[in-house]
Symmetry: C2
Subunit: 514 residues, 2 copies
């Protein structure tokens, strides 16, 4: 055969002695997207969506389930009705408020090398957040707990392609709910030096997280307000509603110039119309309402436009992720965020129940959709499974490979004289090979992408090595990574202040159940 | 929790009673790419690659290992040396010849509904070709054989998203090599009515395949020449060489106006320089040489520009596929094909040894790279594994899902007044849901993408159903598909003519070993 497989045979002889190699990854770096964004909507269609969103805000309105939000918006000029939670915002007010949001800002980590730019062409990848369950091949699927929580945070620290911790990777259910947030957020300071998240679950928890972020960075309140150092996700209770605890968190964060990511939860066919266009209209209205509230609290506060639009399977009601609809919504979401001048958040999602081919192809759809849609913050970028119900250790490694590969796709090609290689082609000539060419030997070490997870051994060597599939290899890799984990250095004074803050708040009883 | 997973919980209750549903797929249709192509090279860089390729053709030259090719090119104006296989082509000659190639043409199937447009924004997906081994979960990995060959061709016929049969899906090693091509190509006429491939493995086999294509379409020789009805892949023996049997096939095909796809096999670091830019320069030179030869044989003959550039793992020599290098080479390959006015061929490749997450994520990288690079013919689009060494039944189903999903991504979004859904949003209002809304019920059946393979049941239902992973589900799906396969109707006169042609050629002994 002289077809393509012949070449594999030809060169695979050299591969037969290569076994699994040690773990290696590309260094921490800023990921910039130099490609133009993909657009799912024409310019006219984009305006039609924006126009319909304005109509929702003006004619239908949004329910803000907290009197403080209603007061703030009323003071800003919104139309409110005594005794009602409904707020109507005319487009002039929305435009005025949204225009105050920065299009780009810096997110500060306690390690300055891990500061992040949010906006422009920069892409930030966050770990899985908010899963109630956790899973790996050894222990199976289990309820979230603090040991797994800490291990997932350690992996987030160890993997260079993960830029921040997007919330509790898994809910540590074994911790007392009244003080859980104290231990959980404090762990983000001791186990990692990357940027992290605090939950907008009422005023007290939010303030505790802000205080922990302040302590971690060794700043006073004023300086913290000048340097955003914490972010929170504010999900709308779609359709067209923002709940009380989320609003309290939003207000406290915005007041202190910390980062709020407004993410409407517009599952088409369930909490949003059964058309992608309709879900986008609703997403856009809800996002604009949230962004407007942030700006009404504090003009110029850092805020992001979140898109989470997907759809349910109409035959079963089950949510679907990483679908063609999801991809097009991710493209359009980026257009809407840019149209409104706010950095864009999307996610790496899938609906698979196990770390298999479906998990990989649905995630790749989400990743490509987000990246080609020019995402700025990709939440749940590593470890998210089952529509968010499980954080998986193996999926975290699988995603790290896919993200690192994507970051490399975005690197420019070297098209220098040397890279074009005419001299090498002349030297080797027709019918030769490049294995021993000087041009090849000079590039031996760094010529090509080196994978985290992919196994390129030939079939025979792979079988001799036990024939592990990608999920089994990921299992070994995550355990090796945990084995070699080292906690990032932490100033003893900060460690002490953190410890005594947590101890004091625990003594006070933490946050009482609502 | 009011984070994203909450929504999954909210709607997953409805999913719990949903089990596996029967097989369904989207209808056969033309897939058009309405997005702009991704570009890995700037305009200047593209010209630098083209310029370097011209220099190769002018200064180094290409070895054509067949005297007839040398004569044809000499007559066209190329520089040849008596006693040498080296041919040098100056850029003026190359440009003149390549300019004669059509930028778009029709590929005719025996079922007119399966005719294909090759070129423009149209994308055609072909099944796996040329694997020496075949595999499924039941029988494991085994040497290619005619039974599996026929089953793979049947699946190619059954799956609407597969537009053509890209060669022997697996080598039927149990058939006599002298007559194997007769049975194998004849099976492409009886088991499918889609477009198919004949191998350029010497003059006789090529002519037999052309004759079978002619019989299948019920045409005379003249009409066949007006209606391209067969295609062949011509791989260069990189670097800078075309072998004798391939040249014979190329010449016979081009003479009869049948489709030749020139595909340099430029594995960077092995048969091409250890830089992607260098491999692209060489790919482009080899492709232009092959296209020029086709046009020197017959001006205007249909020809395609193939890109197969990937790289070897420099540590082991193993070929790698679906890598970041592969994606950027796929983008650049499209640019070079368009620069030269010839339709573009790429592939869906991966290097995994088993149908796992790696197979899926490497394939998604290849598919997205090819599609965003504006591929016209995606070879090996379904079923290719292990760098081409194995055709997998389960991978065929997995790929069909990924391809069908991608085709759906390329569909325009409906942004009509009804789709924007303002009335539905008004009707449901803040805090409601859309399950029972009229707007939803009207769209119940067809609102969203319906998958071939993805399993969206909730975890509990999935476990109760045996917890099958995607590969296990693909196994069941392919068997169900074979069960329900029906051969496409074939005119009895054509069947008889085909049978007697094959019988006669067998009696003559087929093709003697070289």
């Amino acid at each position: 055969m002289s077809e393509e497989q012949g070449g594999r045979r030809r060169s695979s002889r050299r591969a037969s002695s290569a076994g699994r190699r040690g773990f290696h990854q590309l260094p921490w770096r800023r990921v910039e997207n130099r490609f133009p964004p993909m657009e799912a909507l024409s310019a006219d269609e984009l305006e039609a969506v924006q126009e319909a969103s304005y109509k929702i805000l003006e004619e239908i309105g949004i329910d803000f389930l907290h009197p403080e939000a209603i007061e703030i918006l009323k003071a800003a000029g919104a139309e409110t009705t005594p005794g009602s939670e409904r707020v109507r915002l005319d487009r002039g007010l929305v435009q005025e408020l949204v225009a105050k949001a920065p299009s780009r800002f810096t997110f500060h980590a306690r390690n300055p090398e891990h500061h992040l730019v949010m906006g422009g062409n920069v892409m930030v990848f966050g770990s899985v957040g908010s899963a109630p369950n956790v899973s790996d091949l050894d222990g199976g699927r289990r309820v979230g707990n603090f040991k797994d929580y800490c291990d997932l945070v350690r992996l987030c620290q160890s993997l260079n392609i993960i830029h921040l911790c997007s919330g509790y990777p898994v809910e540590p259910v074994d911790l007392d709910p009244a003080t859980r947030h104290l231990d959980a957020v404090a762990a983000c300071v001791t186990l990692t030096d990357k940027c992290f998240h605090g939950y907008a679950l009422g005023r007290e928890r939010m303030l505790d997280a802000i205080e922990i972020a302040r302590i971690a960075r060794g700043l006073d309140d004023e300086r913290l307000s000048a340097e955003p150092s914490l972010f929170t996700i504010v999900n709308t209770s779609s359709p067209l509603r923002l709940d009380g605890p989320m609003i309290e968190g939003l207000i406290e964060m915005a007041r202190r110039n910390q980062i709020v990511v407004i993410t409407p939860f517009t599952l088409s066919g369930a909490m949003a119309p059964a058309t992608i266009a309709g879900a986008l209209v609703q997403q856009n209205a809800e996002a604009l309402a949230g962004i407007a509230l942030v700006q009404a609290v504090r003009a110029g506060a850092p805020v992001m436009y979140g898109g989470f639009t997907s759809n349910v399977d109409m035959k079963s009601g089950a949510p679907a992720f990483g679908t063609p609809e999801y991809v097009r919504a991710a493209f359009a979401g980026g257009q809407l965020a840019r149209r409104n001048g706010v950095p864009y958040r999307s996610s790496n999602v899938n609906a698979s129940n196990t770390v298999d081919a479906q998990a990989a192809y649905e995630s790749q759809m989400s990743i490509w959709g987000a990246v080609m849609g020019h995402v700025n913050l990709m939440m749940h970028a590593a470890g998210w499974m089952e529509g968010g119900l499980t954080a998986s250790f193996e999926k975290l490694i699988l995603d790290a490979e896919m993200l690192q590969g994507m970051a490399e796709v975005l690197q420019p090609l070297d098209v220098s004289e040397e890279a074009l290689g005419l001299d090498a082609i002349r030297e080797v000539g027709p019918g030769g090979h490049y294995f021993g060419a000087a041009h090849t030997l000079e590039r031996y070490e760094t010529a090509f992408y080196s994978p985290i997870l992919s196994d390129w051994r030939n079939y025979e060597s792979w079988r001799e090595g036990g024939g592990p599939d990608a999920t089994q290899r990921a299992n070994q890799i995550y355990k090796d990574l945990l084995q070699s984990y080292e906690a990032p250095p932490l100033d003893p004074a900060i460690a002490e202040e953190l410890e005594s803050f947590v101890a004091r708040r625990k003594q006070e009883g933490g946050v009482k159940a609502a």
